[in-house]
């Protein structure tokens, strides 16, 4: 729930009668401001490291993450295994390295999906208003009212465990916030002169939305998206922790944490490394999110 912290509330935005966030179109200027933020750069480095690790996992990981070695189980960190081995003698480091792939898939795809659903519905609601607005926003209210974890558990109970059910459930219970954010910015963008002008010149609804409204309304959504990649990664790990995440064979951080939690106070390396991976990933995206927000909306600094 990091989303609500700084971005404005929809109702708030509209009652204030002032656009929630001013859109800045000069991207160079945005990048300039972003680059001036050291924490944001650190975040970018963390995220870049994550992506690179995920892309080149086979070359980075010293071992096959699935290879078991029952003669060398639960071994503390050593030269052969920098981060020790797990209960099946698998190399912890290699599993963490491969775990970046799941984190990237779950984090990015679920947010992408969330954004697509949220933007589409939010734009429809804000642009067409009236009936569409009511239907979409009441729908959003319903999905918004589910605690993310509870909603996800229920979906996974139906679909069974796996990466895609997790991704799907995160999107299904995440789009409502995006739709709300987008709707409120669309509401104000809709009344801009250039939109009226475009309409008057005979542009179709889709063209108006895509070419004129979205570019001017999308900033808060982008901020939300960057912030919530980390949230998605943590939610995914939480589901694995509760035993409803991906299959235990899959090298994934939540699985490693769930498997390692029994070793707390005994063999702490078993859970510390995956914890660290989750924490660094989350922080990376939060820092980037912070930077993006500040860069897009200097007023909030």
């Amino acid at each position: 729930m990091t989303d609500e912290t700084t971005t404005a509330q929809p109702q708030q935005g509209s009652t204030d009668g002032e656009p929630a966030i001013r859109v800045v179109r000069e991207w160079q200027e945005v990048w300039h401001r972003f680059a001036a933020n050291r924490l944001a750069l650190l975040g970018l480095v963390l995220v870049a490291a994550l992506l690179v690790t995920a892309a080149f996992a086979p070359w980075i990981a010293p071992y096959d993450p699935l290879r078991q070695d029952l003669m060398h189980t639960i071994e503390p960190p050593s030269g052969a295994h920098l981060f020790g081995t797990d209960a099946l003698g698998r190399d912890q480091l290699s599993r963490v390295v491969y775990g970046t792939r799941i984190a990237v898939i779950v984090g990015l795809v679920s947010i992408l999906l969330t954004l697509i659903i949220g933007i589409a519905l939010g734009a429809v609601a804000g642009y067409f208003g009236r009936f569409y607005d009511t239907v979409v926003m009441r729908g959003a209210d319903i999905f918004f009212a589910f605690p993310l974890l509870i909603g996800a558990i229920i979906i996974i109970t139906v679909t069974g465990r796996g990466i895609w059910p997790v991704v799907l459930s995160l999107a299904v219970f995440g789009w409502a916030t995006v739709a709300r954010l987008l709707r409120s910015s669309v509401l104000s963008a809709r009344e801009m002169d250039y939109v009226h002008a475009a309409r008057a010149l005979g542009a179709g609804h889709l063209r108006v939305i895509v070419r004129h409204i979205l570019p001017n309304s999308i900033a808060p959504v982008i901020i939300y998206g960057t912030f919530n990649v980390g949230t998605a990664v943590v939610a995914e790990a939480s589901l694995s922790f509760l035993g409803v995440g991906v299959s235990p064979q899959v090298p994934e951080w939540g699985n490693m944490l769930a498997a390692g939690r029994g070793f707390i106070g005994v063999d702490d390396y078993m859970w510390m490394l995956p914890s660290l991976a989750v924490v660094l990933t989350t922080l990376g995206f939060i820092f980037v999110g912070d930077g993006v927000r500040d860069a897009l909306d200097p007023k909030l600094r």
Binding site: R138, D141, L148, T157, V158, L257, G265, V279
Partner: protein
């Protein structure tokens, strides 16, 4: 005001109906026959008994009928009977809800006192060592998943230091501390950041500058203008974060064996005890919706500029 309330109540009902419908639709397609396990999974059972049970739980009727029946009962406070203990769900969840509420209230108090307090102090002493420390700690904390924090605290304070008992006893007020901190700490960090941000903004606002210029005592300015105005987003945030709180409660209560609805949920999922799952989710959604209304009303009280319309 009256019309606004009425409209909001109407919306609330729509949300509740929609949410329960989703739950029902999902649970209806779950593989496995709940009655099969209910009737004694390990033993030969008279098909007549199974049939009776199906009828007893209304599982023989179409989903739409089941749903309407459920809603009808729900309105009267009847959430059905669970599959394991065969007792009314509301009777099972009632005391657990009290326990979860204790936890949630403690967590919210922690959010407000520690979170907002720390944030306010940081804003007042901007760029001090304290401010830097707060920024650093809160920045890092939000990256920690609840279960990592919970397990760290449990291991440190209960197993190693033995300051508090490991097994949560919901009737002992002292024992709420660790689970409450676990549940609240991430939100508290966010609240602190939020509080610091808004307060810095408010401190720069014209009316505050004016008040100070007019010679109003600093203490009074802080209490009357700055705090009051800075706390609005915090209230909003806490209202919204309640859903996350309930999600976090599943993990926290499982780690600390806190006998609340979160633990009931995690157990019920394993047991396919659907009436409990639906019950907890319904409670969750209902409380969230009510709380949001309350937050909006409080909002109006705190900020007279906002009209309820």
């Amino acid at each position: 005001m009256g019309r606004y309330l009425l409209r909001r109540l109407g919306q609330m009902i729509v949300v509740l109906l929609g949410a329960t419908l989703i739950l029902f639709a999902c649970l209806f397609v779950i593989p496995g026959d709940p009655v099969g396990s209910l009737a004694g999974s390990e033993r030969a059972r008279d098909p007549a008994v199974v049939k009776e049970l199906r009828e007893h739980y209304g599982l023989d009727k179409p989903l739409a009928v089941q749903y309407v029946t459920y809603i009808g009962h729900l309105v009267q406070g009847d959430m059905g009977e669970d599959y394991i203990q065969r007792r009314p769900v509301s009777e099972i969840l009632g005391p657990k809800l009290v326990n979860t509420s204790k936890l949630a209230v403690a967590a919210i108090v922690f959010d407000v006192l520690i979170g907002a307090g720390v944030g306010a102090l940081a804003a007042l002493r901007r760029y001090s060592l304290w401010d830097t420390a707060v920024t650093l700690v809160t920045t890092v904390l939000v990256g920690f998943p609840t279960f990592v924090i919970g397990m760290l605290l449990l291991n440190l304070f209960a197993v190693q230091l033995k300051w508090v008992p490991v097994i949560g006893d919901a009737s002992d007020p002292a024992q709420v501390i660790l689970p409450a901190i676990t549940l609240a700490i991430i939100d508290a960090a966010l609240v602190a950041r939020l509080m610091r941000g808004t307060m810095l903004e408010v401190l720069r606002a014209d009316y505050v500058k004016t008040a100070i210029a007019k010679g109003v005592p600093r203490r009074q300015v802080l209490l009357k203008h700055v705090l009051r105005n800075s706390v609005i987003p915090v209230v909003t945030y806490i209202g919204i974060s309640f859903g996350g709180l309930l999600g976090g409660a599943i993990i926290t209560e499982t780690i600390f064996n806190w006998d609340g609805v979160g633990m009931a949920m995690s157990t019920a999922i394993q047991q396919q005890n659907n009436p409990i799952v639906v019950g907890v989710a319904t409670w969750g959604v209902g409380i969230f919706v009510v709380l949001n209304l309350v937050v909006d009303l409080m909002y109006a009280m705190l900020d007279p500029r906002i009209r309820l319309s």
